[in-house]
Symmetry: C2
Subunit: 553 residues, 2 copies
């Protein structure tokens, strides 16, 4: 490793993921302020919810690095989950740098680039498992780790000012079933070499003990399926290829033929098979063939564990699926966790299935799932191996990062830093310090338009979802007198309140006619105020009222 030069600094900037579990975007910078070079680790999305009505996809605002994109060397991806790769196809056109990933991750990114018509433009470069990569002043080493998807990687980033370990998403699974085990030797060796900073996953910092193993889940799933008599459908995250393999093997052992149901199941298995996973498995049968088999001979593996309304399981539960029907005697197994925020949707799905007489088994009552993230004892192991000088927790809400800081300190890490999104952290030289704040925020994919996260149309939608919208058009003649009654158009407002609005608008106009009506502004203000007051009286709520004036002649 070269010696650092005067004025050179090692910088870390999280633009996403240090404030939420989702939409990761991490920047590492090296050099003097005038000559700094950057790499980006991960570029993910998260999904909208009821706080962002009408928004499906949210991603970090890359503005800070977009302004410096001539200093950006590459995007490096740790693994193929959406919260780490989902924004690549949306934001690459603003960055235009090479993208590095291991084979399975690259296969899934390629699919996304193809959908966006970007495949020929993006230099997508494959790094072998355990591979190394030199990017300007950064020497990268990919270190095998385990997680709930094939090919998760920790990335060791060596610089003249020290070594950073960016963990990505990880756990310690002694029996991952698919792919390699955590390369504990490499992590220990790194610790002996001396680690400046560990930038580490905080998702399960509140969970005591260990996360458990895919091997244990495989055994338990087989035991649960063995007790079932009718049709069985298991729903799991499609990207958990090890889980999928366990389900298929259990099915084969119990004399059940396995059919995949749902688009992303097919997409992920194709990528897995293409990159050498899921070998030596019995062939899948298709949904139509499954229909003709006796119930005890069928095992479906479905998308939709989070209650997604268009996914396979929701359509099965509502009786709208074209080929799969479940009823009394059949069982659905949720081999998945409940992502916070999805509780009600998932329980509604349980209710729909129960209503049909289907028995529902989930991780709430049977141990048919393990998390892909490290629980506290695993975090303790990682810090013991690495012995970093500084811990900078990422991949968590503020509550997770705060708790992770407390945990790291309790584990004798000399310094632990709460660095939320936008923090410009100088990792070296000197103690790690937040030296400045980078502009940061969220972009919303609203339909096909990429908007600033706090844009006015999302805010308006939130407002009108509570108290409706009333649009009033005032039509005046050339002398500024009412030519017609005002036109009142409402959405989401009860009829009695709309009637009141209409009368109030008409009355306001006739009051106004006694004054000069050259200027639109006082008309708009007066009508709006009158309508709002009338609606409030009739309904007890404050609708969003828009008034426009149209003048003839």
């Amino acid at each position: 490793m070269n010696q650092p030069k005067d004025g050179e600094e090692l910088i870390f900037v999280p633009l996403g993921g240090a404030g939420e579990i989702g939409m990761n975007l991490n920047l590492y910078g090296y050099g003097t302020e005038a000559h700094r070079q950057w790499i980006m680790v991960d570029l993910g999305v998260m999904f909208g919810d009821d706080d962002t009505p009408g928004i499906d996809i949210i991603m970090p605002d890359p503005g800070f690095i977009e302004e410096r994109r001539h200093q950006l060397l590459a995007i490096v991806l740790t693994h193929a989950h959406e919260d780490h790769i989902g924004a690549v196809a949306h934001l690459w056109p603003r960055l235009r740098v090479p993208v590095y990933a291991t084979p399975f991750t690259a296969a899934l990114v390629r699919g996304k680039l193809e959908e966006q018509g970007l495949l020929d433009e993006v230099p997508l470069k494959i790094v072998p498992l355990g591979g190394e990569l030199q990017l300007g002043p950064f020497s990268l080493e990919f270190i095998d780790v385990t997680h709930s998807i094939p090919e998760p990687n920790c990335i060791a980033i060596r610089t003249p000012l020290g070594v950073v370990l960016h963990t990505g998403d990880w756990k310690i699974d002694p029996q991952p079933l698919v792919g390699r085990k955590t390369n504990i030797d490499a992590l220990r060796k790194l610790g002996e070499e001396g680690v400046l900073a560990a930038i580490c996953d905080s998702t399960n910092v509140f969970v005591p003990g260990r996360s458990g193993s895919e091997g244990e889940v495989a055994t338990r799933l087989e035991a649960v399926i063995a007790m079932c008599k009718g049709r069985v459908a298991v729903t799991a995250f499609a990207s958990n290829v090890a889980r999928l393999q366990s389900i298929v093997r259990a099915g084969a052992k119990l004399g059940r033929h396995v059919a995949l149901v749902g688009r992303s199941m097919h997409k992920i298995t194709a990528a897995a098979i293409e990159t050498g996973y899921l070998k030596d498995l019995p062939a899948f049968i298709n949904e139509e063939a499954a229909m003709t088999l006796p119930p005890g001979k069928v095992l479906y593996v479905c998308t939709g564990s989070q209650g997604e309304p268009r996914a396979a399981l929701a359509r099965i539960a509502s009786g709208e699926h074209p080929t799969v029907t479940l009823g009394p005697g059949d069982t659905v197994i949720f081999s998945s966790r409940v992502i916070p925020g999805n509780e009600k949707t998932i329980h509604a799905l349980h209710n729909d299935l129960s209503q049909r007489g289907v028995e529902v088994i989930s991780a709430e009552d049977h141990d048919v799932h393990v998390s892909g993230h490290p629980a506290r004892d695993e975090l303790a192991d990682m810090y013991a191996w690495l012995r970093p000088r500084v811990a900078v927790p990422v991949h968590g809400e503020i509550r997770h990062l705060s708790e992770h800081v407390r945990l790291a300190k309790s584990l004798q890490v000399p310094q632990a830093l709460l660095a939320p999104n936008g923090s410009i952290v100088r990792l070296a030289p000197g103690p790690a310090t937040i030296v400045d704040e980078a502009p940061h925020g969220r972009l919303h994919l609203d339909g096909i338009i990429l908007t600033q996260g706090d844009d006015s149309s999302t805010k308006e939608r939130r407002a009108i979802s509570h108290a409706g919208h009333i649009a009033v058009t005032v039509i005046l003649d050339e002398r500024g007198r009412a030519l017609l009654d005002p036109v009142v158009i409402a959405a989401g407002v009860p009829q009695e309140a709309v009637d009141s609005a209409r009368s109030a608008a008409a009355e306001a106009i006739s009051r106004l006619e006694r004054r000069r009506l050259d200027d639109d502004r006082p008309i708009i203000e007066e009508v709006r105020r009158a309508v709002r007051r009338a609606v409030q009286d009739a309904w007890g709520k404050r609708a969003l009222v828009h008034v426009e004036v149209a003048r003839a002649g």
Copy 2:
């Protein structure tokens, strides 16, 4: 007990609570079809969520019994939780029958009636604890039970056709701290007398083991508070008077003065003190006095454990509370469960507190809460005491009721019936059977208007929250030609889509001008179609478009 006469039947009809945890409304009917008399047990609300934007309170539609209100003898309340009493003040004017409750419940109902100006009208009658009551053919006995509020009651309903036990909400708490213990003797005796049907709480049917005791929580809370150095705020459900007492006692023992923060804390403690609870406690101090004490001498008890935005804790977390400020070194203890659906809101509150450096302790990581509902072993006890001929689970979603049916069968109850809201269940004579369906549904309190749950304005609000609203006013002259450009007013739609809508509306009008424009309908249709298409092209979403035509002359 009298002998039943020919043609007499005992009927059970749940109109609320057998399909959701919340808004309980249970009807018991006795007599021949021509001469039937009814009693109502509980009349509660539930709270709106993101599925019902703009709706705070939801209650069962009482239409079925409203039509028969001359046959309704009384409303009987089991306990004072909102999901059992919250709709009394809203729906009593439609029913106009006496209301029976034990003293603490009556005190809280009285407060609600006062707020609605109904106090002088409603015959509110107090039943002593363990009291009896004759209502037409029904002989009622109130049986002490334990729950998370003072004075919960099981109600034994004796009729000529048999005895029903309506459990209400209950658990078996060997150390309830406030109020009496579960009257196990009375329940056993009832079992010996012979129970026809048990209508039983299903809330925690998925929870193995036992719910635990308020006594244990008191010990653990004291241990947790003893470890805290700075200010401590505990948030709990205001109605859990035993919990409140435990917090106050722990504070006193540890040298902390206790201040109540939040309106409902004051309301409930007043009712509790009025009815003889919370005696022998050290006096509360007020919030202002607490400010002047050293941090280690203060203990706040706050409302807002569910993240309610206007409650005390949310205002403390956002730094907007007028008297209470928390920061580094201080601790907030959530001595409460997370009501499903509130996860994100509560976690946002944890994040706000963590951001201020406040340590957050919750039932997720410390045992500082127990549920008020029976876990599986307690349900097994109840069925062993009662040995009913039929189990009809209530107080649950369909998934809870289904599992409760399975559990009851496994406990050798001869018959267990899934009877969702609206089921008209003939309990006797003969085996319990659903003989018909009663009209049932939900009423929404929308602002100050009580609407049908599925009314069009709520549906419209849900639609516009996703894709916005566009109101187009077409202004024609007396000959049916455009007098002015169409006026386009939008809410929740990005500007580029509004611009497209405006052009599309104008173009549609000029196309239409070439045809006869006497009739508004084709104009409205054509403009709407053009605007929707333009918005879809520009935005990728289908806005709600309303068009009106105004004609001059």
